[in-house]
């Protein structure tokens, strides 16, 4: 049986990788993937803590997160497709029309 601490550490590592991916990459697809990584790191932490405290609430939260992530990706990908259609480019650094 692998100790729960390992799961927590793995979750932290995954989250950090995801966060760095979001900050450093310019391709929105990869950013999305990094966001998925962060969400799943959180899911892993939820599940780990749920097993420690012997409750189901953490596991139920995970289902919600998965559902929200799926919806978010659907919206995000649709946005990216539309942006690509209009601008022929999806470089995230050039999407600055809301700049103050």
């Amino acid at each position: 049986m692998v100790p729960v601490d390992y799961y927590i550490a793995l979750s932290a590592i995954l989250f950090t990788i995801g966060a760095l991916g979001v900050l450093s990459r310019r391709n929105p697809l990869i950013i999305f993937m990094s966001i998925e990584l962060m969400l799943n790191a959180a899911n892993l932490a939820f599940v780990a803590f749920a097993s420690i405290y012997q409750t189901f609430s953490g596991q139920i939260f995970v289902f919600f997160v998965i559902a929200v992530a799926a919806a978010e990706v659907a919206v995000g990908l649709a946005l990216i497709v539309e942006i690509f259609k209009t601008r022929r480019n999806i470089n995230i650094d050039e999407m600055n029309s809301l700049k103050g």
């Binding site: 979001v22 650094d93 700049k99």
Partner: protein, 717 residues
Amino acid sequence: MHLSETVNTGFYFLAPGLVLVPIIGLLINAIFGKYFSEKAVGTVASLASGAAFVISVLLAYSVSLNHGEVMRWQFLEWIHVGNLSLDWTFRIDSLSATMMLVVSGVGTLIHIYAIGYMHEDVRFKHEEGRFNRFFIYLNLFIAAMMILVSGDSYMMLFVGWEGVGLCSFLLIGFWYEMDTLARPSWANSNAAKKAFITNRVGDFGFLMAGFLMFWHLGSFQFDEVFKAAPAIAEAAPWVIVAMTLFMLVGVAGKSAQIPLYIWLPDAMAGPTPVSALIHAATMVTAGVYLVTRSAPLYNLVPQAQYVVAMVGAGTALFAATIAVGQYDIKKVLAYSTISQLGFMVAAVGMGAYVAGMFHLITHAFFKALLFLSAGSVILGLERGHHAHAHHAAHDEKPKGKKKKEEEHGHGHADHGEVFDPGDMRNMGGLRKTMPVTFWLYMIGTLALAGIFPFAGFWSKDEILLDASLHFKSVYGQLTIAAFFTAFYMGRQIWMVFFGEARSDAAKHAEESPRVMTVPLMVLAVLSVAGGALNLPFEGFHNLTHWLSHTLGEVEGLPLNLGVAGISTALALTAIFVSWLIYGRNPLKAGQPDPLKKPLGFIFTGMENKWFVDEGYGVLILTPFKKLSQFLADVIDWRFWHDFVHETVIAGTYNWLSETLLSHYADQKGIDTFFNSWGTFTQWLSGQARKIQNGFVRSYALSVLLGVVLILGYLILK
């Protein structure tokens, strides 16, 4: 008001009608006049005036019914302040009733005459719409004159006094946009203004007298003033002297006495019925009425009476000499009026109030007759002029008629030169063309000249008789004036009615219609028989007896054959002399006046009114204009406007507002303060805007940092 309880029989309640009926008449004409025909307008106005005459008769009858008792009929409350209580009260006694009868009686006849006169006058002047206006003014005048003669206090009298002054102004300036020859000019307006302003000088005197009266006697009401006056005359006689002399200034203004008579000759600019009604028969006698009414005051101060008599006598003589040198038919009569007013003022100044009032009445008859006949003459000439001009134009150039009509509109430019229908040098021989007018004029002339048995003979002789008994110098002046009177009237008769016609207009003159001549005939009868009012025989002193109810008992003087003989002889001599000069060898067209050569500069003086107007110009008007120019230019404009207002006040204010408040306080102070807030906010937002750099990843980084910070805080807390 205690009198109203004791006297209650009679028609006193009608008294307000004296004023109200003419006002109703003028309101009807003012409101509905434009829908009326000329005849209807004239009828309404004449009826209003005639109704006032009927009321006057009834009031006079009431006075005689009550044995001359004074009746005071309170009509309206007016001013009640402190000790002053002024009401509009009608005073009906034998004196005011006499004036009412004269004003409304002569006034009504003149109203009727004016229907005919104005009918033609407005047509000759191409202003037919003004017919109605004339009768409105005429009724207004009757109302104002009634207020004047029926007032029970000096202030009510003053209200009427100003009212008739206003009507005089309006009617002198009736043809305000032309001169007497209907050429476009402001001459008539200027004449109206001259009359009004000269009267203002007189009104100043009246007002000063009023102030003195209220200050020292505490009232304006006649009875109260007369009751309080003797005590004041004992204590401080100068008050009464000053009061009466100031009153004399008012009299000199209204009744055209030296030195304020200058407006009356110019007032002839008004239509002739106005000259007859206002400037001969009624309004100008208001001064005589005022002195007569104030008899109890004047009787207290013989010095003032002396001055009044001398002013009157001087005016009588002075104006009579000017009348000799005049060529305008109305100007002669105007100076004659001034002269005759001088007779009246001299009479009342001597204390011969009855004689003054008697002459006032007869003069109203015969001078109205003369003026109206002169109007008839002028219109006759105007008719002849037009008839002849039409005829001539028709003969010469039948096609040019329309053009000539147009020229008419611009003031009778037919002969190239303006034709003056009032100039006696254009007349002559009118005896044949205007026989009715001639005889009427003749009667008026004989009455004015004082030929037995015409009205003027009796009244003038009464004045002369009184003067011969009390004031020799006045008697001398008046006798010479009477000589001149007969002379200038004779001159006028010879020049106007005898000899050959000196112009085509005179040759073609036409007689006036009946509506004009019938009132004249009534006036002629009165001019003949008016003397019967007060014959100098025992038992015939009717007017003396009648007025004694108001003026106290006066002894009726018997006829003095010496005085009457001298004046009649002088008058006849004067007429004979005038025949020698003007009648025997009638004036030819273009010939100068035959007196011009023998009298030389004296005649030039008479011709030019002794240069009085010019003298006033040099002595008063020029310095006055210079002073006002100085005041306007230097004091008002340069000092007051340029310096005080522009420099001091406006400059200071501008400096204060522009430099101090606007520039320093507002722009430099307040604006800078609030602008710096704005600048700061802009800078701040500029700084804040930098966060929104548009790099999605930097936003993500800040989210991350925020999460780290919050978590760090939660962990480390």
